[in-house]
């Protein structure tokens, strides 16, 4: 077996040596080499673009805008005399899944009759504020923050009034964009 293999190799070598030692072979070799490298690099680059875009999708995709949540029909609030508590569903996208959570908000009416939606998260340390019918005030149960019916701060440790949320009326329905705001500060700052 071995001896046969050897003869085979011997027979092959001369032919090979001949073709590569020809003067023209060098030039052709390097030309083809360049051609192949260019082709490979080209195709490789063309393919790595979609691969990179695919892998980087979560960082490149436009930040998912906070979706609008439905609060209720507009006329439902046309006659409210005091803040009305409503539960809204907020949807957060997490890749291919969504997490739906429920948040409470208060719908109030401003002096000029515009509907306003207040977050029920206390701007002090985040407890849920409750509407106290008898006193006609919002009261935060944790450290006794007190707010007026329009959300303005009356007393207590919070440094600002209740946070108003962005609203819009669409097809006769009140919609709200639920957001979280930084606690313990005097100005309203959105946190992601």
């Amino acid at each position: 077996m071995e001896s046969e293999n050897q003869t085979k190799d011997e027979k092959r070598e001369p032919g090979c040596a001949e073709s590569s030692s020809m003067t023209g072979a060098h030039g052709r070799r390097s030309f083809l080499g360049v051609l192949m490298s260019v082709g490979t690099v080209g195709v490789g680059a063309a393919l790595s673009v979609p691969l990179a875009r695919f892998a980087l999708h979560p960082t490149l995709a436009k930040t998912t805008e906070t979706a609008w949540s439905d609060v209720g029909a507009e006329d439902e609030f046309s006659t409210i005399a005091e803040p009305a508590k409503r539960l809204i569903n907020i949807e957060q996208r997490d890749g291919w899944r969504k997490v739906v959570s429920e948040k409470s908000v208060y719908v109030t009416k401003s002096a000029d009759g515009r509907l306003r939606v207040l977050s029920s998260v206390c701007p002090h340390l985040g407890c849920t504020v409750a509407w106290n019918e008898t006193k006609g005030q919002f009261i935060s149960p944790c450290h006794n923050g007190v707010f007026a019916p329009d959300g303005a701060l009356i007393s207590g440790p919070p440094r600002r009034g209740l946070d108003e949320l962005e609203t819009k009326i669409e097809d006769g329905r009140l919609k709200v964009r639920y957001q979280y705001f930084r606690q313990l500060v005097a100005t309203k700052e959105v946190i992601a």
């Binding site: 083809l32 695919f54 997490d94």
Partner: protein, 495 residues
């Protein structure tokens, strides 16, 4: 070969110290990694009779496989192998992720490309008689690779978990139960239970991305090693053991042809994937009874063949005949030992090969014809196509997480508890006790309170809080009896 040499493109006389630029870097690496001899080993392989386009299929396969590995790894960035999420994640890849439809199509069509090139590679090897002359192991390693590739196609098909994937795999795994004695056990082993489910998906996933690829890497290495050991067989006029014809080195002409073919393949795949993206059907619904599974085109002949066998004779058609063909196929270089390579001088082998090939084509065509001729089947298949197209047009629908409140609300099947939840929230109990009674700094956690206090005790403390509770800020709850009942039902549901 062992002594460091300067690459042949540069002057052989330049001492290493004087070598400059690119060359110097090359020499530095070569002295440490021996890439020069490695390159020579790879590129100087002699090809008796010279380079030919007929020899390009093997390396073409290697390239498409490489493309499958790369696209597969990237797809795994978003894919989740579970019956709950697989379909959503594939829909997400297809409809939302940048370039996702393209990469998935590339991967999906890649399997078809592998089968096509594999058939060309086998046909070339067979017709050229390149399996002859001490190439038995090389051939057997190739056969194992063929089986592994078929296994990749089979296991990968289930992963999107759409109707087509589910029902085609249900049929596929059912075939295993035809095996005498161990059939049922084999089917359960593949499915991870009596029925198709999330365990089937896990198994197929692990086979598809870990076990079979590992085996493929090993056998590709063996196949290439054995090929280099035996040497290229050359044209049909060549002696497969002791080649006499003038040889040409692998580099540059054969390499160029191989690369050209590989680039052509990848480009064709890319264009196809870009313009005709692979589809995804609606999520698998095991309860559906009307669905007609149709396998990928390369499984159609087998699919059609199985139709002809049922009852006690089934074992002949499903097991015996395929086994005989497989044994003959794998054993070919052991049976056909002559060194004659010209196809016209090997009528039996070439005839049998052509016959099997034509039979497969015929079976595939028959399968298509049967579907067209049966109006009921044609209508159902058309309906399935429409459903798939409708699903592809629909925007991506994210899956609602189990931790979502909406899901928790569904769990509140008891209407009394659901009413109690509304009371809990409108009376602002959640202000201190948190949504769902999770507890806050201002109020105790209420989850599990039902286990600590029986309903009457609970009602008592709600109406008249203890001193300790009152000190913590708890006020007495004033509710009508039925409202109190609802609230307590809700509190009891908090677990």
């Amino acid at each position: 070969m062992d002594s460091p040499t300067i690459p042949p493109t540069n002057s052989d006389d330049v001492p290493v110290t004087e070598a400059r630029g690119r060359n110097r870097v090359f020499v530095w690496f070569d002295r440490r990694a021996g890439i020069n001899s490695l390159l020579h080993e790879a590129l100087d392989e002699p090809i008796p009779g010279g380079a030919r386009w007929a020899y390009v299929f093997g390396s073409g396969l290697l390239f498409v496989f490489l493309s499958q590995v790369i696209t597969g790894v990237f797809l795994a960035l978003y894919y989740v192998p579970s019956a709950d999420h697989a379909h959503t994640t594939v829909a997400y890849i297809t409809k939302e992720v940048t370039a996702g439809a393209f990469l998935r199509s590339l991967h999906s069509y890649g399997s078809s490309a592998i089968i096509v090139v594999l058939l060309l590679h086998i046909a070339q090897t067979f017709l050229y008689g390149s399996y002859k002359g001490r190439r038995e192991l090389l051939w057997v390693a190739g056969c194992v690779l063929f089986a592994l590739m078929i296994g990749m196609a089979f296991t990968g098909y289930l992963l999107p978990w759409d109707q087509k994937a589910y029902f085609a795999t249900a049929v596929g795994t059912n075939i295993a139960s035809e095996v005498p004695l161990v059939g049922e056990w084999l089917k359960r082993l593949m499915r991870g239970g009596a029925d198709m489910g999330t365990l089937t998906l896990s198994r197929f996933f692990v086979a598809h991305v870990f076990m079979i690829p590992a085996a493929i890497f090993a056998f590709v290495a063996a196949h290439i090693y054995l090929f280099r050991k035996a040497g290229a067989a050359g044209p049909i006029s060549e002696d497969p053991v002791s080649p006499r014809q003038k040889a040409e080195r692998f580099y540059p002409r054969q390499v160029t042809m191989d690369m050209g073919f590989a680039l052509l393949l990848i480009a064709a795949l890319g264009l196809f994937a870009y313009f005709v993206p692979a589809e995804l059907g609606p999520k698998a619904n095991p309860a559906e009874t009307q669905y007609l599974p149709r396998p990928e085109w390369y499984y159609l002949p087998v699919f059609q063949w199985l139709k002809y066998w049922s009852g006690p004779l089934a074992v002949i058609g499903i097991l015996a005949i395929p086994t005989v063909i497989a044994v003959l196929f794998v054993g070919l270089p052991f049976i056909d030992r002559g060194l004659e390579r010209r196809p016209w001088k090997r009528p039996v082998a070439v005839g049998a090969f052509t016959l099997v090939f034509l039979a497969l084509v015929l079976l595939g065509a028959l399968s298509r014809r049967d579907d067209r001729r049966n109006p009921g089947v044609a209508a159902q298949l058309a309906k399935q196509r429409e459903e798939t197209e409708a699903f592809m047009r629909a925007p991506f629908e994210p899956e609602t997480a189990g931790s979502s409140l909406a899901a928790a609300n569904v769990a509140l099947a008891d209407p009394l508890a659901a009413r109690g939840k509304t009371i809990f929230e409108t009376k602002s109990c959640n202000a201190c006790h948190g949504d769902g009674g999770v507890g806050t700094p201002a109020g105790a956690k209420l989850i599990g309170v039902g286990a600590k206090l029986p309903p009457d005790k609970l009602e008592a403390v709600l109406r008249q809080p203890t001193e300790k509770m009152a000190a913590g800020g708890m006020t007495s709850v004033k509710l009508k009896d039925e409202e109190m009942k609802a609230l307590i039902a809700y509190l009891n549901s908090l677990k």
